[in-house]
């Protein structure tokens, strides 16, 4: 699946599409490139790029539309409520007002970062699902660093916390990548099991050595202090985590799509033997992508501590890591697609409360919707290359 993803995502690299453009140039030859010969071909090539881009947007939208139909039938038959009323409430709860929109964005913020933890190594063909562990480990590291820095200027404390969270989160996923590369251990299982270790370690630390004696019935580290908290984006109730997540996504996009490093990672993801044969240092590629992915999740942990809880405790284990896996797959591991998909997931989760309160639907309702969307998007993969409208016409 990963290899296909690569091929489809970067059609301009494939020889089939490169050909017409080259042909156009050679035909144009000595003549000045004017409309007559080269124009239609170039325009066609550009059209083809647009068709490909449109396909990447349209297929998920078709899948979403199909999901809402299936979920609507489920609502009408099983839950016996009016699907249109449900969708109306969902819109109201997720995007219907400034408050709802902020509610959605604040829920999307951690998902953007945890999704990168799966999406980055996926470029190399690795399926990492240890996002939750990296988040928890990063959160505890960030809280500890914040406590060690006590008394320093808030910006310094925050920077050190971010670095500590990213470093430990990165090392956590690096461990899974190293096990894969050097010892042949399945990275999916390794990263999942590392999550349990991270959670157990966090529980041990906050209930033992790092416990604030004041935290009687909710064992936690000492608070990092109100002054050291990272605040909200100006004029909103949404913390800076959202902005950091978007910046991280853009940075990742540039790295993976516009540098030789990203190209090398795609090659290794497509065919690791060929990549080795060409002299690429696959170990280094694995290390860097795992480190960066883990750092994103670790940063999410730091933000949970520094923007939400003010301390590290068991509330870090809130399922953001697992939800991030879903987001990454739905975004087909594309760093820029992660943002809208995370907002969609945040919106579904934000509307959950309203459905419970107004229609007495159980909490599991939105989980059903998420499940339906997931299956539909995966099924939608089979549509790529089958809809005539989006196929290249160049050749």
């Amino acid at each position: 699946m990963i290899a296909r993803d690569v091929a489809m995502a970067e059609p301009e690299h494939s020889p089939a599409h490169a050909e017409p453009a080259a042909a156009a140039v050679s035909i144009a030859g000595p003549e000045i490139v004017t409309g007559a010969a080269a124009g239609p071909s170039i325009r066609m090539a550009i059209d083809d790029r647009w068709r490909q881009a449109a396909e990447r947007v349209a297929v998920p939208l078709i899948a979403l539309a199909a999901s809402s139909v299936v979920f609507g039938v489920f609502l009408a038959l099983v839950a016996q409520v009016d699907p249109l009323e449900v969708y109306g409430l969902m819109y109201q709860g997720a995007f219907g007002s400034w408050f709802s929109l902020q509610n959605t964005l604040v829920r999307a913020a951690p998902l953007i970062l945890t999704a990168l933890c799966t999406a980055l190594p996926a470029r190399l063909g690795l399926v990492v699902i240890g996002n939750e562990g990296a988040l928890v480990a990063g959160g505890v590291a960030a809280a500890s660093a914040g406590l060690l820095m006590h008394g320093a200027a808030p910006i310094a404390v925050q920077l050190v916390m971010a670095v500590a969270g990213m470093a430990v989160g990165g090392l956590w996923i690096l461990a899974a990548g190293w096990l894969r590369h050097s010892r042949g251990v399945n990275e999916t299982i390794a990263s999942l099991l590392l999550t349990y270790i991270a959670i157990a370690l966090m529980n041990h630390l906050v209930e033992g050595p790092l416990r604030d004696p004041q935290s009687l019935n909710k064992p936690s580290t000492a608070p990092i202090g109100e002054a050291n908290m990272i605040g909200n984006l100006p004029g909103t109730d949404v913390h800076w985590g959202l902005a950091l997540g978007v910046i991280f996504c853009i940075g990742t996009y540039v790295l993976m799509r516009h540098t030789t490093f990203g190209f090398a990672a795609d090659m290794a993801g497509g065919n690791v033997r060929a990549a080795r044969g060409m002299g690429l240092n696959v170990g280094r590629l694995v290390a860097v992508t795992c480190l960066l992915g883990g750092a994103a999740a670790g940063l999410a942990g730091m933000i949970e501590v520094a923007a939400v809880h003010g301390r590290a405790n068991a509330s870090l284990v809130a399922g953001y890591g697992y939800a991030g896996i879903l987001v990454a797959f739905l975004a087909r591991h594309h760093p820029l697609a992660i943002v809208p998909v995370a907002v969609l997931m945040g919106g579904i989760s934000a509307s959950n409360g309203l459905l419970q309160r107004r229609l007495d639907l159980p909490d599991a309702t939105v989980l059903v919707l998420q499940g339906v969307i997931f299956v539909m998007i995966l099924a939608g993969e089979s549509l790529y290359g089958r809809i005539r409208l989006f196929q290249p016409r160049g050749a």
């Binding site: 709860g93 408050f99 209930e207 019935n217 909710k218 809880h309």
Partner: protein
């Protein structure tokens, strides 16, 4: 009952509704008189046979009161999600009294919302509200359920043939340790040689570990178990299947174990919530620091199961009568922990309101297990 909070914010009901409810109410049509909207937030499912069900059952009672509208959300994690749930109830439903019921909702989430909405009332279950530290529009309520765990212990002590009791607990925190110790003290009042094996699962809802712990206790010869986890369902069902006895916790689990259910320690939040609603309707606000036990009606015991012996019943009822009269002391010296240190000196009696009991950090003599 202790009620030393400040009472007297009378402009509460007038100020809040207009601006908040405008956008949300059209779906429900026009009302002649604005009802009191109360928001309940649960950390787990409403039908968990445990902690959340105990609150949801009380919410269902409040719902029937005239002029009251209850909005509920279940399975809300202890993160920014609970802040947004509260805010959504305030903004979209016009809630003016909020009950975020899980422990982790208190600090920082509920406190943050209380600061943001100083005209609304927030009451939290289980927190330790402190006058100078926490906003005046917040408060905490809790029940001395260790009294019922003591009574569980009395019955368990009489019924157990092996002299080995089991306690499946989530985390070694004061509220849990207090229950384990009270249960053991009750059992030892019936049979001084009895022991309680404790297993900490590490978290509030780990059904698989809870079942494993129960089975391992059965294998060790334990013949009565009880627990302090969010949902006692798995423990009680597993015990019934293994043919041993169980004492309930949080809510009534008799249905799950028709043969082996002895009695149980149940919350009676209905009493607390109806008091609070009455205060709001009278133009006042609920107390800030509210505590109560059997005497105040905050907790209750389940009806006896078929296996409870006459002797057990008699002692249970005698002690319960004393507790209802408010003159039974569970924690009194001399009391040693299970490492041999004296934790309460001879002659000292800690009545239920004693603050040191809310910071309990030891397991008493007779408990097999360690807090760390």
């Amino acid at each position: 009952m202790l009620r030393n909070g400040s009472i007297g914010r009378r402009r509460l009901l007038q100020g809040t509704g207009a601006a908040l409810a405008a956008g949300a109410l059209p779906l429900h049509g026009v009302r002649a008189q604005k009802p009191l909207v109360i928001g309940f937030i649960y950390v787990g499912p409403r039908d968990d046979y445990g902690y959340n069900q105990a609150h949801a059952e009380a919410a269902a009672v409040i719902k029937k009161m005239a002029g009251v509208k209850v909005v509920e959300e279940e399975k809300v994690p202890e993160t920014v999600a609970v802040e947004k749930s509260m805010e959504s109830m305030i903004n979209l439903d016009g809630a003016t009294l909020l009950f975020p019921t899980s422990f982790g909702y208190f600090d920082p989430h509920m406190l943050r919302m209380a600061q943001k909405y100083p005209k609304l009332q927030f009451r939290h279950c289980g927190g330790l509200w402190t006058r100078d530290k926490h906003p005046a529009n917040t408060g905490s309520y809790f029940g001395y359920i260790d009294e019922c765990q003591y009574l569980n212990g009395v019955v368990a002590g009489h019924v157990s043939k092996t002299g080995k009791l089991g306690f499946i607990a989530a985390k070694p925190i004061p509220q849990v340790l207090r229950n384990i110790n009270a249960f053991t003290l009750g059992a030892r009042s019936a049979n001084p040689k009895i022991t309680t094996q404790v297993i900490f699962t590490g978290d509030w809802a780990l059904p698989v570990k809870e079942a494993e712990a129960t089975n391992s206790m059965v294998a060790q010869g334990v013949d009565v178990v009880t627990c302090h986890v969010d949902s006692p369902k798995v423990v009680v069902e597993t015990a019934e299947r293994a043919g041993i006895y169980a004492c309930g916790y949080h809510a009534n689990q008799a249905k799950l174990a028709p043969k082996g259910y002895l009695t149980g320690a149940e919350w009676n939040w209905e009493k607390v919530y109806t008091d609070f609603v009455a205060a709001m309707k009278a133009g006042s606000v609920p107390g800030n620091f509210v505590r109560g036990g059997l005497k105040e009606g905050f907790v209750k015991t389940s009806a006896f199961g078929p296996a409870v012996t006459e002797k057990a019943r008699a002692q249970h009822e005698a002690v319960k009568t004393q507790m209802l009269g408010g003159n039974y002391v569970i924690f009194k010296g001399p009391l040693k922990d299970n490492k041999g240190n004296t934790v309460i000196t001879a002659g000292t009696e800690y009545i239920q309101t004693e603050p040191t009991l809310e910071a309990m950090s030891y397991l008493i003599d007779g408990v097999l297990g360690a807090t760390s």
